[in-house]
Structures are given as structure tokens and as C-alpha cells.
Amino acid sequence: MPLLELKKVFKAFGGLMAVNDVSFQVDKGEIFGLIGPNGSGKTTIFNCICQFFPITSGDIIFNGQSIKGLKTHQICQAGIGRTFQVVKPLARMTVRDNVTASAFCRVNGIREAQYEADKILEYCHLDMSSAKPAKSLPIAGRKRLEIARALATRPTLLLLDETAAGLNPTEVDEAIALIKRIRDDGITILIVEHIMKVIMTISDRIHAINFGQTIAQGTPQETANNQAVIEAYLGEDYA
């Protein structure tokens, strides 16, 4: 049984069909990549999974149960963690408090939550910045904070939205290492990414979309050589 399954999902915003008949399955333990040019609907798909808005039709099944109609916080509690493409640090809180607040999803009590937070900050190499306000972090730190916050909710499935965007090559390598470590620790990952180096090196399988529709699916090799994918990306920068 796949961990996550999207069945013929449609999402319309008025007259615009942002997600047009998208179906795929994510198996436990894999890193599943979602690629597509800007505006193709990738983040919208994430928003559909997290129920930021209701889907127009279709179904989303997580761990064998439909999560359609659940509230966003219930989806988090069910085990789906999420990072945002445009990083949203809880700016005026400290880095530690950001992750502590997240940890309350799974533990009660301040000390337990802070302990959890400290462990995760160390895991994500943020322990040095733990007492600083989140807004003081540079972009690489903010991206890691997004991941740390999501990890504090002990997800079974982690949705990563453009985690490597805006990072320099060294930081990209660190991000790749972190993502691999997370997968090795048993968390399934669904990753949206623009930077080909990231997606091609770490994904087990890739699903490509354009204009809300599926254009290809398969291993990184197959997808990279797919005609439709190459056409869709014509003119895009390759990392």
C-alpha cells in the first residue's frame, strides 16, 4: 500500500484549472520528486495535500485513509509535515522557540518540548543559532528552520517545497545531505524542486507536471530524457 496516493485530483480556482487530473503514488521510504516549470501547479498540489483549500474533485489517501476534508492542523497531526517555498520563519520568536512550538504537536510540557527542539536543532545544524530571533537567520538557516519545524511534528511523510532554492552550491550540498539523512531515518519525502542537481541526485522516482497536468513519470534518468519534459523546461536554468 502506498503511503500517499493522489487519485485524479482536480483543483480549480474559478476558471483556472491549476491541478488537472493528477494522480501518483508515493511509497514508504522513498524520495519522490515533483518537478515542473514555474507556475505548473507544484505548490498547489502541496496545498491540496495539506488542505489549505478543498480540492475540486478526486481523492487524496494517506496511510490508507482519505484525508480529503480534514483541517490543515489535523493533517499535520496525522503525520504529514510541510515546508513552505517562501520561507515563513516565526520571525520574532527565537529559533529554539520556533521548533519548540512545533514540538508541542507530539509532546506535552515545556521541558519535553524544549528537549525535543534542542535535539532537532542539533540534527539540522541550527544549534548554534538557537537563541537568536528567527528573522536574523540567513536564507540557508531559514530553510533549515523550515525543515526543523516540520521534523518536530514527527512526520511520516515530509513535503519539501523548494528547499534548495536561493542557496549557494555549498549550501545545496548540505541540504542534499540533510534530506538523505532524513530519509535514512525512516521519513518518506515528497520533494518539489527546481534545481536539477538536487532532484536528479536524490529522487527515487520523479513526476513531472506542466500547466497542472502530468507530462511524465519515472526514474530520474527516464524523466530527464523525456521529450515533453525537455520541451517544458526549454529556456529554464539548469543547476
Binding site: H73, L90, R92, I110, R149, A150
Partner: protein, 317 residues
């Protein structure tokens, strides 16, 4: 930091002994009003400063608390002091409804909705004469001649309110409130039931504000819709108290209450009789100027920007 603690201890002792040290009715009244505003300002601060939901309608809860006490006395024939116990609860009940309606909106729209709510309740109180006596208002005989008991009740209320908020903010709820303030969508994605916690914050805020309203009924002996549901003198004043003192700090509203009541009284009495009569109309203007000054230079309020203030004085010296 022994000197620090000693100083605060002295301040605390001063407030405890104040009505005995200063037997003047006038000054006792002023500090009682300050203490009442500590409660209202701190309550507003919990919802707005800490949870980020900027209410322009806190008069709703103040008025409901006041009228609960008043109606107990006039309609149920029981002491208005029962209103002190129940005013907060009645306000919480109203808050459930207000939250259900207004939390669908965010930011400035939420503010406008609460502002409208305040006006709606004022009109309700004005027109529902069989319940509230309308514009005639409610008049009760005050229980105590001396201001001393009222002073200590107000002091107790203020301390309870501030300490309760302090402990709430240190708990899981505190983390959740601030997370909602910083980014509501992120908070949801972190597993926080934002609808629930916004309402919890509102309920606590309404409880203390309503209790303050009930206290006002008991202390002043007279209320009418214009007084307790007033947009400027209640709702906006609550906002000013918290912002000038320092929103999102624990002691900010207490400092703000002191400053704002002081400014208000200085102008209302035309600098205690020293300035020409027309100055007494100036307090609204000064409020406005004060808010502009605070927003431009001390955006975290007096308490929030205390370091900055100290810095100015040490450089000048």
C-alpha cells in the same frame, strides 16, 4: 540584581500602601482607574499583542460585564457584587459568539468587524430598554463609602490578571498564541488548531475585561450605553494603553495604563487647574500625538523599547 528586586519590591509596597499613604479621594480614584485599565489593557494585549488579533471592540466585553452586574442589581434584586463573579463569565459567553463571527476574518477586517460589534452592542443596550433601561442607564447604591475596599479589589484584579497572563504566556498556549500571531498558516501546518487557540485567547481576554466592567459598575454606581460601550473611551483607550506601554510585553499595559490615565487626567483637569479651560478638550489631540510619537520612535512601547529609552538618557548625560 539585588538593587533591581529591591526597587520593584518598593514599588509593590507603595501600591499596596498607597490609599493609606495618600488619603485623598481624588488620587485614590485616579489609581483605581489606572488599575482598571491595567486589567483591560493587559486583556487586550493578550489577544492583540500576543495572539495578533487586533480587536477594536473590547468595549463589548467591558460593557457586557458592567451590565451583568447592573442587571443583577436592578432586575434580579441581588447584589451587584455577584456581577463581579459573573461579569467575566457573561463576557466569555458573548466572546464565543463574537469569535465565531469575527475570526473568519483576518487583520484589518477582523478589526473592523470587532469595531462594528462594539457599536452593535452599544445600540443593543440603548434600545433594549426593558433589560438595560436604555439611555436612562443603571444606577445602584455603592456598597462602600470609602474608596479603600474598591482600591484593594482593583489591585487584586490587576495583579490576578497580569499574573494569569504571565503564566499563560509561559505555557504551551503562549507558544501557540505567538505562533498564530507570527504566521497563522504556518501555525496550522505545525499542527496548531488556530481556530481553537484564537478563541481561547479571546475567552481569557474577554473574561478579565468583563470582570473589569463589572467592577466599574460596582465602583462608579452608574453606567449607561454611552459610557461602557464607548468606542473611543473604552475600545480605543484599551489599544492605546497597550501600545504606548508596550504591546506583547507583560508589564507594558500596566505602564501604559499609568501613562494614559495620567495624560488624560492632566488634560481633562487643564493641567490641574493651572492652564486655561480650553486645554481640557485637548486630551484627544494629545493621545493622537502620543500614539504617532510611539509608533514612529518607540514602536515597542515604553516597556518594549526600554533599552532605547535608557540609551537616550545615558547619551544625554
Amino acid at each position: 540584581m539585588v538593587a533591581h528586586r529591591l526597587l520593584w519590591g518598593l514599588v509593590g509596597l507603595f501600591f499596596i500602601a498607597f490609599p493609606i499613604i495618600v488619603p485623598s479621594d481624588y488620587y485614590q480614584h485616579l489609581i483605581i482607574i489606572v488599575l482598571m485599565w491595567v486589567v483591560i489593557g493587559s486583556s487586550w494585549n493578550l489577544l492583540a499583542g500576543f495572539t495578533g488579533q487586533i480587536s477594536f471592540g473590547h468595549a463589548i466585553f467591558f460593557g457586557v460585564g458592567a451590565y451583568t452586574a447592573g442587571i443583577f442589581a436592578t432586575k434580579l434584586g441581588i447584589s451587584a457584587w455577584w456581577g463581579l463573579a459573573c461579569g467575566g463569565i457573561a463576557s466569555m459567553a458573548v466572546a464565543l459568539f463574537v469569535g465565531w463571527v469575527c475570526f473568519r476574518l483576518r487583520g484589518p477586517y477582523f478589526a473592523l468587524a470587532t469595531l462594528a460589534g462594539g457599536e452593535i452592542f452599544r445600540l443593543l443596550a440603548t434600545n433594549w430598554e426593558s433589560l438595560t433601561e436604555g439611555m436612562v442607564g443603571i444606577l445602584i447604591i455603592q456598597t462602600f463609602r470609602s474608596k479603600l475596599p474598591y482600591y484593594y479589589i482593583a489591585l487584586g484584579l490587576a495583579l490576578t490578571c497580569v499574573l494569569s497572563i504571565h503564566f499563560v504566556m509561559k505555557s504551551k498556549w503562549g507558544y501557540y498564541f505567538v505562533s498564530i500571531r507570527e504566521d497563522q498558516d504556518t501555525a496550522e501546518a505545525m499542527g496548531i488548531d488556530t481556530a481553537l487557540y484564537k478563541n481561547i485567547s479571546l475567552l481569557i481576554s474577554a473574561f478579565f475585561t468583563g470582570t473589569a466592567g463589572a467592577f466599574y459598575m460596582n465602583y462608579m454606581g452608574f453606567i449607561d450605553p454611552e459610557v461602557v460601550f464607548h468606542l473611543n473611551y473604552i475600545s480605543i483607550m484599551a489599544i492605546l494603553v497597550a501600545i504606548v506601554g508596550g504591546a506583547a510585553t507583560i508589564w507594558g499595559p500596566a505602564v501604559g495604563a499609568f501613562v494614559m490615565v495620567l495624560v488624560q487626567e492632566t488634560f481633562r483637569s487643564a493641567f490641574f487647574g493651572l492652564a486655561p479651560k480650553w486645554v481640557s478638550q485637548g486630551h484627544a489631540l494629545v493621545f493622537g500625538l502620543l500614539v504617532i510619537f510611539v509608533i514612529m520612535y518607540l514602536s515597542n512601547g515604553i516597556v518594549g523599547d526600554w533599552r532605547k529609552i535608557k540609551g537616550i538618557f545615558s547619551r544625554a548625560a
